[in-house]
Amino acid sequence: MLSSGGVGGYGVQAPRILIVDDDPNLLVLLADQLRADGFETATARDGVDALRRLQASWPDLLIIDMMMPRMDGLSLAREIKSRADLPIIVLSAIDAGDSKADLLEEVAEDYVTKPYHYPELRARINRVLRRLGDKVPRQSLVLGPDLTLDLHRREASVSGTPVALTPTESRLLYALAANLGQTVTTETLLARGWAETEDADPSYVWVTMRRLRQKVEREPNRPLHLQTVRGVGYRLVPATGGHEAPTAATNAATERD
């Protein structure tokens, strides 16, 4: 596991990024762009090369191309994740409509489509770096008899019925679940959900939270779990009175530690 030193070092020591792409033009260019923004960069031409570099030192983040000779990006990302939980951003010509997009999201922290827009890529890199140590746990969070969150699968189970969550919804719920019972400010949620969206404003959070309630609450107008703290933000609370409540709280506490 990457030690928290990597995060602590951010700001003091430049984050190191390993770029893996088979297009030399892109390697040079992206490395230039990232260096101009104060990142330390290294490059690899393919997956095998990248794995060899990883033996010497671990970067703080990897940017991996999807289609490469010898070993494709997906296999490489899986291989890396099996060794160490390094954050990965996949850079590919695949868009959200592709059948492999969901696979990518499972194995990588984020993905950016080619041709990339550099400011957006930079925003995503920063968000992924800030998110370190904040990985969505691979276990269910039981909030009550009618609500269970399976965020690693981007799914909630509402009264036993699975409900799909969008990546944004999933990120917001995770930010709330990590502070179970405590209020999370709208600004924090905005930063979590829309780091790369310029001029995003609090209405994004309001509307998304309302949509989330429609999805996960049995009575969206009288929310049991997703509560609004007027003028401040939101909090996620386990159902009171149920046996599950203390367990869920303990789980969340353990995950945080």
Partner: protein
């Protein structure tokens, strides 16, 4: 005195061979004796009485009156005696019949396990034996039927044809108690029918048929010691026809599975191909655009802007083609995130790089957020604006966004000041690869409106061509699901 009908007239059971006729006091003897008793005894008694009176009685009218009384008395005694004796004999004769009737009732009620105790060796005893055999046969066939049903129920089309055929052979063997049995999946006409040889195992055969199709044949060998009756053959053929249905299902299932696998393979191959095309086109475009941008930062040059814009344009067109393919294969599943429409429109306009074209954006839905897939929405906005610029002949482009509170939707209208859409073009405007009749051939892929409309629909919205405006120009509108911004 013996009525001839009783001794000779009874039709012999065709199955009974002469040596089976019992030698003891059979039913027939008892019945004969009973009839003799019933008929002869009263006559004898009456005769004896008449005789006795003739010997003992005197002459005269007193004796005549006496005689008449005695004769009447004797007649009465004879009749009573006959009735009594007949009753006893009838009771003796019907007791076994009642027992058999009760046993038949039990069998018809489903109790096959209690045989009738057979005493003696007469016709009734043989009737009882026949009944017992019938019950035992019924019970055995019931058992066979149970095994057959269990075997058929256990058959799943997923098991595959060969497994089902092999299992059917084993099932038939155990269910019918055969020496061996097998299912052969060839035309039954190719398998000759074996002749039964007395003293050897008897060959059994039933064809596997579904409708008019013969799938194969079920063959078996019955131990020579066993009998095989019509009902057994019926059961055997029933089993064969059920197995035929199961095997046909498995064949069809296998075909469907194979086709599915093939389709999935083709789909994956197509996806791989598209991914490859996309990658191979987008990667160089990425470099072109990024280098142009970088150079432009170092030393601003309008020509670099054009390189950047045109490479962006090309990469969007590549995406459009991919989107069409995905839309048509149903592989596109847009997400529903919240999106600020006006912001997206402004960005899309900037990405077009047509600063010389006048542009106005009127947002009457401040705070409203569209519920859409940001990536796909960008494609729609870019295509609509691009369309307005080109087909409007670089006249002013105006965009208006307004909410529809009642249906919780946003309506966005993009209008240009050009010549509008020719009436002839209107109905076919949203087809694939369609361009207006009067337009130059370098307009683009001809996919823009088609893709945009399909994308809008996939996101729960719609794209319309608005009716011709009096001031001329073309105007298109999209509807998208949206949310108002109030908190809570």
């Amino acid at each position: 005195m013996r009525p001839p009908s009783v001794t000779d007239g009874e039709p012999a059971n065709p199955r009974d061979r002469p040596e089976d006729v019992p030698l003891g006091m059979g039913f027939r003897t008892r019945l004969t004796l009973a009839l003799i008793f019933a008929a002869v005894l009263p006559m004898t008694v009456f005769g004896l009485l008449v005789l006795a009176i003739g010997v003992v009685g005197g002459e005269g009218p007193a004796a005549d009156a006496n005689l008449a009384r005695i004769l009447l008395f004797g007649l009465a005694i004879a009749v009573l005696l006959a009735v009594f004796v007949s009753y006893l004999l009838a009771a003796d004769l019907t007791r076994p019949l009642r027992a058999i009737a009760a046993a038949v009732d039990r069998v018809s009620a489903g109790d096959l396990s209690t045989p009738i105790r057979v005493g003696g060796d007469d016709e009734l005893a043989r009737l009882a034996e026949s009944h017992n055999r019938l019950a035992a046969d019924l019970e055995r066939r019931n058992r066979e039927l149970g095994r057959i049903l269990a075997a058929i129920e256990g058959a799943s089309p997923r098991d595959g044809v060969d497994f089902l055929a092999g299992k059917a052979g084993l099932d038939a063997q155990t269910a019918f108690g055969l020496l061996d049995a097998e299912v052969i999946l060839v035309d039954p006409a190719e398998i000759p029918t074996d002749e039964a040889v007395p003293g050897e195992a008897r060959p059994l055969r039933a064809e596997l048929r579904v409708g008019h199709d013969a799938l194969g044949v079920l063959l078996g060998r019955l131990p020579a010691t066993r009998t095989w009756e019509r009902a057994d053959q019926d059961l055997f053929e029933l089993f064969a026809s059920e197995i035929a249905v199961a095997i046909r299902n498995a064949q069809l299932f296998g075909q469907v599975e194979a086709q599915n696998a093939q389709l999935l393979e083709l789909d994956a191959a197509k996806d791989d191909f598209l991914r490859g095309v996309s990658h191979n086109l987008q990667t160089p475009l990425t470099s072109i655009r990024a280098y142009a941008e970088q150079l432009d930062i170092d030393r601003p040059d309008k020509r670099l802007d054009i390189i950047g814009e045109q490479s962006e344009r090309l990469s969007r067109m590549v995406r459009q083609l991919l989107t069409v393919t995905r839309l048509e294969s149903g592989a596109l599943h847009p997400r529903s995130d919240v999106v600020a429409l006006a912001t997206r429109v402004r960005k899309a306009w900037e990405a077009l790089g047509v600063a010389d074209v006048p542009f106005t954006l009127e947002d009457r839905a401040v705070g409203w957020l569209a519920v859409a897939d940001a990536d796909q929405l960008d494609q729609v906005l870019w295509a609509m604006l691009d369309n307005a610029v080109k087909h409007g002949g670089r006249t002013a482009v105006s965009v208006q966004i307004e909410p529809d509170e009642s249906s919780s939707r946003l309506r966005m209208t993009v209008a240009d000041q050009g010549t509008g859409v020719a009436t002839a073009d209107r109905p076919r405007l949203f087809g694939r690869f369609v361009r207006g009749a009067e337009r130059s051939p370098d307009d683009g892929s001809g996919l823009g409106l088609y893709v945009s409309r399909e994308l809008c629909r996939a996101m729960g919205g719609e794209l319309f061509l608005d009716p011709p405006a009096p001031g001329g120009g073309a105007s298109f509108s999209i509807h998208l699901p949206a949310e108002s911004p109030e908190e809570g």
